[in-house]
C-alpha cells in the first residue's frame, strides 16, 4: 500500500455535508420550475386484471388539467435489463399485474385539480385469477402472469460445479434445512419523486437514482429518443440501498406527461406509493443441503432458492444470483450446485437490495454452526478452515486477489471473546458470527468501467467530471478526497460535476459496489496524468529533477530543497501559455470476464476484486415474550483501505441497523396482493433506541489494484449482519431459525422446540 498519504485515510469532513446540514441540499421534490405542473397517478386496484378500456376524456375536461396519459400514449416498448427480461411496459395496456401498478396519470396546475382529474378517469377491467405464493405460481394450472414465462418461472439460474451427488454420498455429515424470509422495504427516507422537463426536443430528468446512465438508456428506449436527448441530471438522493437502481414507472409517467403538456412536471410519490409502487424486496426461501467431512471441511453444497419476484423481471437474473455469489466468494466449495428460481407473482416489483438474500445466507451460516458443533468445532474454526484466501479461485472461477477474511474473523472473535462465550452460552443468551464476501463491481457489459475528465482552471482550482453517483454513501466526497491527495490541493478547491448523463461518461453508478474500486480508480488515473504534466513543467521551471517534485497545499516544490517552490496555479497558467492546458482523462475497466452471463455462462472472473467482512452479534432472548435484545454488535470489514474511515464506519453502522437489527424487526406483511404495512408505523425501521452498541472495525488488506488499496466498504456487513443474529439465536436456543424476521412468535416457537428436544 502507498504510504505517506496526506489526506487519503484521514477522517475528513465529507464534501456534501455542508449543504445537507443547512437544508440547502436539493432533493427532487424541492425543485421548482416556471410553469411546473403537478402529476398524480391512477393505480390498479386489482392484483391481476385485463385492461378493457381506459377513458381519459373526463380527466382532460377538468379545468387546469394540461395532460392525461395512459400506456396507450407510449411506444408499446417493454423494458428489461436483459434481452430475455423485456417484459415491463411501465404503463401496461394489456393487463395490470399488481395492486398499485401505474395505469394512467394526469398533470395539472395544482394537486387538487390533479386529484379531481384522477377521479374522472374510467378504466374497465376484467379481473383475472391471481397468484401470490411462488410455490403455487410454479404449479401446473396456476394463473399465468406473462405468457413467455412458463409456470411463472421468470429466471432459473443453474450452477453445478464438481460432483455434488457423489461427494454427498461419501461425506461424514450431511444435513438439509429450509429457511424463509419475508421481503423487506427499502424504506429510504425520501419517497420517490421525478421531475421531467421536455423542451425543444430535449428531455431533462431529475430523480433519486443510483445509475443515471442505465436510467437514461431505459427511458431513451421506452420513448424512442436518442441518448443525447434524454438527460438524467444530478440531484441528491435520500437513500437508495439498491432500490433506486432501475428505471421506475414514475419516470416514464412524468416524461410522457411533460412531453404531452410541453411543461415541466413534478411527480412525488406518497410514503405508501413508495412502498407499493416503486420497488420492494424479494420474499424468499432457501433449501440448503450441506455435506462435511469429519474435520469440518465442506465437501458439497446443494442449494435451492426461490425468490418471489413480484410482477416483472426487474434485475431478475442478478437478484437470483447474487446471494449465491457472495457466498461462493467467501468459502471454498469443491462441489456445489445452485438452483435459483425467480418466480413471477401478482405483487409489486422486486429489485436488488443491499441486504439481499437473508434466508439463503443466514440459513447457510446458521446450519454450518450446528454441523460444526456436531463435529466438535466452533464457528471460528469452521470459518477459518473453509474460508477462501488470496490467490485462490472461487467455485465459478473468480480469482481472489486480496482477502482480509481471516483477519476479520480473528479480530471480531478476539474482541468479543467469542469462542469462550459461544462454548458456554448463558441460558438464552447467544453469540453468533456471520461472514460474507462481495464483488466490487460485477459484469455490466461496457457499463462496467468508468471514465473521468479533469481540468485545472487558471486559478488552480480543479473541475472533476465523472459518472460517479452518491446515494448517501459518500462516493462524491471519496473521489474528491482521492483527487485532492494526488493533485496536492485541498478538497474544497475541487468542484465535482457528476451523475449527469449529458456531461459524464459511462459509469456503473452506485450499483454493484463499484464506486470505490472502479470509479475512484478512473479518477485516480486522470489525476495522475494531470499531475505528471504539472511535475514536468515545474521540474523545468524549478530546475530540479522530476523525481524530486512533490505537490501539497496548492504548491509544487522540490523535496530536497523545499525552498524551491511555486504555486500550482502558476504551472497551470504556464501550461495554458504553452497551449497544453492541464486536462486529463482517466479510464478504468476492471479485469472481469465479459463473456460471463448470469444464466447462460455463469463462470469466469466476476469482479476486479472482492471485499470481506465478519459480523458478530450478541443477543439475549426473553423466554416468556420471545423478544430478542441485542446489546452489542461487532463488525469488521476488509475494505482494502479506508479512504475516509469515518465514512466507512458510518456504512458499517448503517448496515448493522438495516440488516442486523432488521433481522428482528423488518418484513413486509401481505394479505394476498395487499401490502399490509406500506407505512413507517407498521413497518419497523429500527429507531435509535433499538440499536446495539456497535464496534465498527476496519481491516485493510490493501488490494493490489484498488485505488490506494481500496475496495468496497459497507455492503459486506449488510450481507452478513443478519447471519450473525441468526447464528446467535442458534447459539442461544440450540435450534435453527425457520423464518425471518425473528419476531417474538417465531422465537418462542424456537424456544419451545429447544425445550422439547432437550425434553
Amino acid at each position: 500500500m502507498e504510504d505517506n498519504l496526506n489526506i487519503v485515510g484521514k477522517r475528513v469532513v465529507r464534501s456534501d455535508s455542508l449543504a445537507k446540514v443547512t437544508g440547502r441540499a436539493r432533493y427532487t421534490a424541492d425543485l421548482k420550475m416556471p410553469n411546473m405542473l403537478v402529476a398524480k397517478v391512477l393505480r390498479s386496484p386489482h392484483p391481476h386484471a385485463k385492461i378493457l378500456a381506459i377513458d381519459l376524456d373526463g380527466a382532460r375536461k377538468v379545468p387546469g388539467v394540461k395532460a392525461a396519459i395512459s400506456g396507450f400514449d407510449g411506444s408499446g416498448i417493454k423494458w428489461g435489463v436483459f434481452r430475455y427480461t423485456q417484459d415491463h411496459a411501465m404503463l401496461p395496456t394489456d393487463k395490470v399485474r399488481y395492486i398499485g401498478e401505474d395505469v394512467a396519470a394526469v398533470a395539472a396546475v395544482d394537486e387538487e385539480t390533479a386529484l379531481e382529474a384522477l377521479s374522472r378517469i374510467r378504466v374497465d377491467y376484467e379481473p383475472l385469477p391471481s397468484v401470490f405464493d411462488p410455490l403455487e405460481a410454479m404449479r401446473e394450472g396456476a394463473p399465468i402472469i406473462h405468457e413467455q414465462y412458463k409456470n411463472n418461472i421468470n429466471i432459473h439460474v443453474h450452477i453445478d460445479v464438481g460432483d455434488v451427488d457423489k461427494a454427498m454420498e461419501s461425506a461424514f455429515l450431511v444435513r438439509e434445512d429450509t429457511f424463509k424470509a419475508a421481503g423487506e422495504a427499502y424504506a429510504m427516507m425520501e419517497p420517490y419523486a421525478v421531475v421531467a422537463s421536455f423542451q425543444n426536443g430535449f428531455l431533462d430528468l431529475w430523480m433519486p437514482n443510483a445509475g443515471p446512465h442505465v436510467r437514461a438508456k431505459a427511458l431513451a428506449n421506452l420513448l424512442k429518443m436518442p441518448l443525447n436527448k434524454v438527460r438524467v441530471r444530478h440531484i441528491n438522493s435520500g437513500g437508495a440501498f439498491g432500490g433506486r437502481s432501475e428505471v421506475a414507472p414514475a419516470d416514464l409517467v412524468a416524461s410522457l406527461l411533460s412531453i404531452k403538456a410541453d411543461r415541466p412536471v413534478k411527480l412525488v410519490l406518497s410514503r405508501e406509493e413508495n412502498a407499493t409502487s416503486s420497488r420492494q424486496i424479494h420474499d424468499m426461501s432457501a433449501t440448503i443441503k450441506t455435506a462435511m467431512s469429519k474435520d469440518g471441511t465442506i465437501v458439497a453444497k446443494d442449494l435451492r432458492a426461490i425468490y418471489d419476484g413480484g410482477a416483472y423481471s426487474s434485475t431478475g437474473p442478478i437478484a437470483t444470483s447474487v446471494p449465491f455469489y457472495v457466498y461462493e466468494e467467501c468459502y471454498r466449495f469443491p462441489n456445489i450446485r445452485y438452483n435459483g428460481y425467480r418466480i413471477i407473482t401478482n405483487k409489486g416489483i422486486r429489485g436488488m437490495y443491499g441486504c439481499h438474500g437473508r434466508a439463503f445466507l443466514a440459513g447457510n451460516e446458521a446450519q454450518m454452526d450446528l454441523m460444526a458443533k456436531e463435529l466438535g468445532l466452533d464457528p471460528v474454526e469452521i470459518r477459518l478452515k473453509n474460508g477462501l484466501r488470496a490467490g485462490e479461485m472461487t467455485a465459478t472461477k473468480s480469482r481472489i486477489t486480496s482477502c482480509g477474511l481471516q483477519e476479520t474473523i480473528e479480530t471480531t472473535a478476539r474482541k468479543t471473546d467469542f469462542q469462550k462465550r459461544w462454548a458456554k452460552p448463558q441460558k438464552l443468551e447467544g453469540i453468533g458470527m456471520g461472514c460474507v464476501a462481495i464483488m466490487c463491481g460485477f459484469p455490466m457489459g461496457f457499463r462496467s468501467g468508468s471514465s473521468c475528465y479533469l481540468k485545472i482552471n487558471d486559478d488552480g482550482y480543479v473541475t472533476l467530471v465523472t459518472g460517479v453517483v452518491d446515494n448517501g454513501q459518500g462516493n462524491e466526497s471519496m473521489v474528491i478526497q482521492a483527487a485532492s491527495e494526488i493533485l496536492g490541493v485541498p478538497m474544497e478547491d475541487i468542484n465535482l460535476v457528476n451523475a449527469d448523463t449529458e456531461i459524464t461518461n459511462l459509469d456503473p453508478g452506485a450499483y454493484s459496489q463499484a464506486a470505490a474500486f472502479v470509479s475512484t480508480n478512473a479518477v485516480k488515473i486522470a489525476c495522475e496524468k494531470a499531475r505528471k504534466q504539472i511535475v514536468a513543467i515545474a521540474a523545468e521551471k524549478l530546475a530540479v529533477s522530476e523525481t524530486d517534485i512533490a505537490l501539497k497545499n496548492r504548491l509544487v516544490y522540490s523535496v530536497a530543497n523545499p525552498e524551491k517552490k511555486m504555486p500550482i496555479a502558476w504551472v497551470v497558467r504556464e501550461a495554458f501559455a504553452r497551449a497544453e492546458p492541464v486536462v486529463a482523462t482517466g479510464t478504468f475497466f476492471p479485469d472481469i470476464d465479459l463473456e460471463r452471463e448470469w444464466i447462460s455462462r455463469p463462470w469466469g472472473q466476476m469482479a476486479g476484486t472482492f471485499s470481506y467482512a465478519t459480523s458478530v452479534a450478541e443477543i439475549a432472548v426473553d423466554s416468556e415474550t420471545g423478544m430478542i435484545t441485542m446489546p452489542r454488535f461487532t463488525a469488521a470489514h476488509d475494505c482494502g483501505r479506508a479512504i475516509n474511515p469515518m465514512a466507512v464506519e458510518g456504512q458499517i453502522e448503517g448496515s448493522v441497523q438495516q440488516a442486523g437489527v432488521a433481522a428482528i424487526t423488518e418484513g413486509n406483511l401481505w394479505d394476498g396482493g395487499h401490502l399490509l404495512n406500506p407505512d413507517l408505523l407498521e413497518y419497523k425501521v429500527p429507531l435509535a433506541c433499538d440499536m446495539p452498541e456497535i464496534d465498527a472495525i476496519i481491516v485493510e488488506s490493501g488490494d493490489p489494484v484498488g485505488p490506494f488499496g481500496a475496495k468496497e466498504g459497507g455492503i459486506a456487513i449488510r450481507m452478513n449482519a443478519y447471519s450473525a443474529v441468526a447464528c446467535a439465536l442458534t447459539n442461544a436456543t440450540g435450534v435453527l431459525f425457520k423464518e425471518m424476521p425473528l419476531t417474538p412468535d417465531k422465537v418462542l416457537e424456537m424456544v419451545e422446540k429447544a425445550t422439547e428436544e432437550k425434553g
Binding site: 455535508s17 445537507k20 437544508g23 427516507m189 419517497p191 437513500g239 410514503r271 448517501g472 425501521v685
Partner: protein, 159 residues
C-alpha cells in the same frame, strides 16, 4: 376555506394565505419555499418534517396551518447565526459524520436542538430518546448520537 395567517419564520414576520386542510409543512415548502424541511411520510412517523414551534419540536406534516397564527417557527434554514455561522449542532454533525444521504438531517437537527434546549447535558440514552421520533435509514444513528453529544459538550464549554 382560505384564510390569511400571520406568524414568524426564522425571525421574519410573514403573512400567507392557507387552506383549512393545509399543514405547516406545505406552507413552509410550497408557499415560503423553505424546502430544507422534508416530507417523509406525512403521517407523523418519520420526523423528517420536524421544526420548532415556539421552541418545541413538532411534526410539521401534522401541524394545521391555521394553528400557526401568531407563533414563532424555526426551521433548519433559521439555525445559522449571523454571517452564516453554523450552529454548534450543525457544525458537530458535519465534523462527526452525522450525515449520509442527508434526508433525515434537517429534522434530526431540529429535534436535537429541542432536546439540548431542554436538557443541555443529555446522556446517551436521553439523546436516543430525544431522537426516537426521527428515523434515519442510513447511519445506524451512531454518528448522529455522537454529533449531538459532542455539540452538547461544546455548548457547555461555551457557557
Amino acid at each position: 376555506m382560505k384564510k390569511r395567517i400571520q406568524f414568524t419564520v426564522n425571525g421574519h414576520a410573514v403573512a400567507v394565505k392557507a387552506e383549512s386542510h393545509q399543514m405547516l409543512l406545505e406552507v413552509l415548502r410550497d408557499t415560503l419555499h423553505l424546502t430544507g424541511t422534508k416530507y417523509g411520510c406525512g403521517e407523523g412517523e418519520c420526523g423528517a418534517c420536524t421544526v420548532l414551534v415556539d421552541g418545541a419540536s413538532v411534526d410539521s406534516c401534522l401541524y394545521p396551518a391555521f394553528e400557526i397564527e401568531g407563533r414563532k417557527v424555526t426551521t433548519i434554514e433559521g439555525l445559522m447565526g449571523a454571517r452564516n455561522q453554523l450552529h454548534t449542532l450543525q457544525k458537530s454533525f458535519v465534523e462527526n459524520g452525522g450525515i449520509q444521504c442527508g434526508y433525515c438531517t434537517p429534522g434530526m437537527i431540529m429535534s436535537a436542538k429541542a432536546l439540548l434546549d431542554e436538557t443541555p447535558h443529555p446522556g446517551a440514552d436521553e439523546i436516543r430518546r430525544g431522537i426516537s421520533g426521527n428515523l434515519c435509514r442510513c447511519t445506524g444513528y451512531v454518528q448522529i448520537i455522537e454529533s449531538i453529544a459532542k455539540a452538547a459538550e461544546k455548548e457547555q464549554g461555551n457557557e
